[in-house]
Symmetry: none
DNA sequence: GATGAATGAGTGTTCATTCAT
DNA sequence: CATGAATGAACACTCATTCAT
């Protein structure tokens, strides 16, 4: 009796969800929650605005699901640094390249928007508290300390060093995420000078 | 009962305009054009929203006049770097400190918003074309080249160097402009490592 | 694999229609036309919302078919009062009990909704004109007049008496139809006092 | 400097609020919260829909303020019964006349809608708990008991008697509140028969 | 026959802007 | 000059209805 079997239906739903999430990530990243229009997300995704609500209960829920995913991904990416080959500074260089690789830009901006915009729903705020910058600093601490011991990274307060480096990277990501020619993404080697002992 | 004379009226008018612009700069910087509400600007300025329209024809005009001012100011500030005492790198260090000094943050953010937000009125876009990053690069070129000749600044493509440095500074300004504990403003010395030859 | 024959199809169709009408009566009675959602009717009936439209062209048509049925049933019920055993007042008492018996409540409410809601489609309005309160008064007139002649019912304008009694009954049905503890259904004897001569 | 003085402003605001409340009472009473459209209230009040929101934060708040007022008024009216002249049954007759007087109908319906509709905001539900039917029964208890002692009111469970009478009255109000010729408001004497000992 | 994905018109609400005072 | 009441266009979200499968 069922005209489309469960598997087909499931596949359609999944595809649509991904299609919507991709469109939404782009729009939210650029505009922030308040300024992002659902109609614009729908248009970007190539669907009617009504259909958006078959897949996500509300703008807030859609935003939250994206932020959740971005945060999970970013933690995984940072954790993954330990699997990379090479000395500490080489690992950091590889991680930096991954971060600056523009494919992750929308997600970076998304989290930035979530951290800095008004109108962020309360559940997202709670989520962000769990993924504060300190969280990332702790994740990277062993790596930087190893680098310092190896003489590859300048001596000094490691947490402050990591915080500075991440702020620089975040800043670059944010300003360069708009596809504007005004800002450029510096070469990785230049950025590494901030922390390397040369 | 005595009607105010022209001069007094003019003075009131000027004071009000400044009062409004200060409030608007703050609100626009934090929210972007689209999300900044005229009512919020009025409230911040301590006046009625209706009065806003006696002084500025529209939100767009108000925004544009602020961007104009911020751009003029930033050019003046960058030009001023040549008046600062010391060697090239010392001048750059001083300029960096001024930029990162939070007092200039609202204007910086304002220009950033103007460059990256949607909904920016066409005249503002034209304005920004005249003040592209290249414009600042040209202004700073003699200084950086002098620094390179003096051996204070790493050798290499000076334009690319300046562009990278400005992007890093801009990024830091943007991410740290929200008073969030997540991002930190690195020490100036750390940032200078990006360009200095040590 | 063997396709169902016409008779079986017809039977399925009829069963479905009844299933839908039962669900719809319940939902319309509680919410009114405008607030009743087709999705809610579908869910109550245990079918997909799309299927609703195989059986009823539109919400309005579904509503109208229910109202038609409820009106026909109510006329039949009132006509049936003459078949009941006993004296006029005993017949009326029996009828009152049937009316207040909650099993008929959904249909009663349905007609009430049809009479009082906005958004009632024009054809339904025309239908209701044919089944005005006067129609019921005429049906009951012989019974009440017999009661008056028998001294069981208070003397006076019989039409006004019937109208008052029906209004009281309708009112009770409506306010008590929500399963709320705030309103109670009075004992039949109490209500009969309105018309009985004691 | 202030162009309209506070008093004038206050007066305009009060007038508008009353104008809106009158329109809203009418629309809410007829349609219930969910089906009442703010645009319709605005139209009924003769103002733009935007202006509604200068005076009431939301549909819910508007609804609640009306329900609050209606409940306060109804309690005051019932309490006022003790100030009326005459014997207990005469007081009740007077009170009944006041209730059935159509001027209060919209408020009656409003409370009815609040008690029975879906979509009633939580604060209103809490309000209604405080003004349950039991509340009114307690208010009227001394009066009915006095009537019973005086032999004017039939003996029996007074609370049940009051509850029945109020249900009958409420029902009449509700069904007759739509300005429909189908239902009539019975004469007060007829309704009093429900409780009087004759 | 049966499903549920898809659409689009309509509703509650916000906000830039105007205007009477 | 100054106010805030008033408007209307725009946006988030809902729901009757259609249609491919």
């Amino acid at each position: 009796m069922t005209p489309l079997n469960d598997e087909q239906l499931h596949q359609i739903r999944d595809e649509r969800r991904e299609q919507i999430k991709a469109a939404a990530a782009q729009v939210f990243a650029r505009k922030g929650i308040l300024c992002a229009k659902m109609s614009m997300i729908a248009e970007t995704a190539g669907i009617s605005s009504g259909l958006l609500y078959h897949y996500f209960k509300s703008k807030d829920e859609l935003f939250m699901s994206l932020v959740q995913e971005a945060l999970d991904g970013s933690v995984a990416a940072v954790r993954g640094v330990y699997e990379l080959p090479g000395t500490p500074i080489e690992k950091i260089r590889a991680m930096t390249e991954v971060i600056l690789d523009e494919s992750g830009a929308p997600y970076f901006l998304l989290v930035h928007q979530a951290r800095t915009s008004d109108g962020v729903p309360e559940p997202v705020k709670r989520l962000l508290l769990q993924y504060s910058m300190d969280h990332y600093i702790e994740l990277l601490l062993p790596l930087f300390e190893a680098g310092q011991r190896a003489g590859e990274i300048v001596a000094g307060d490691s947490r402050e060093l990591i915080s500075s480096y991440l702020s620089v990277l975040s800043g670059i990501m944010v300003v360069s995420s708009y596809g504007m020619k005004d800002y450029c993404i510096p070469k990785v080697d230049r950025l590494l000078r901030v922390i390397s002992s040369h």
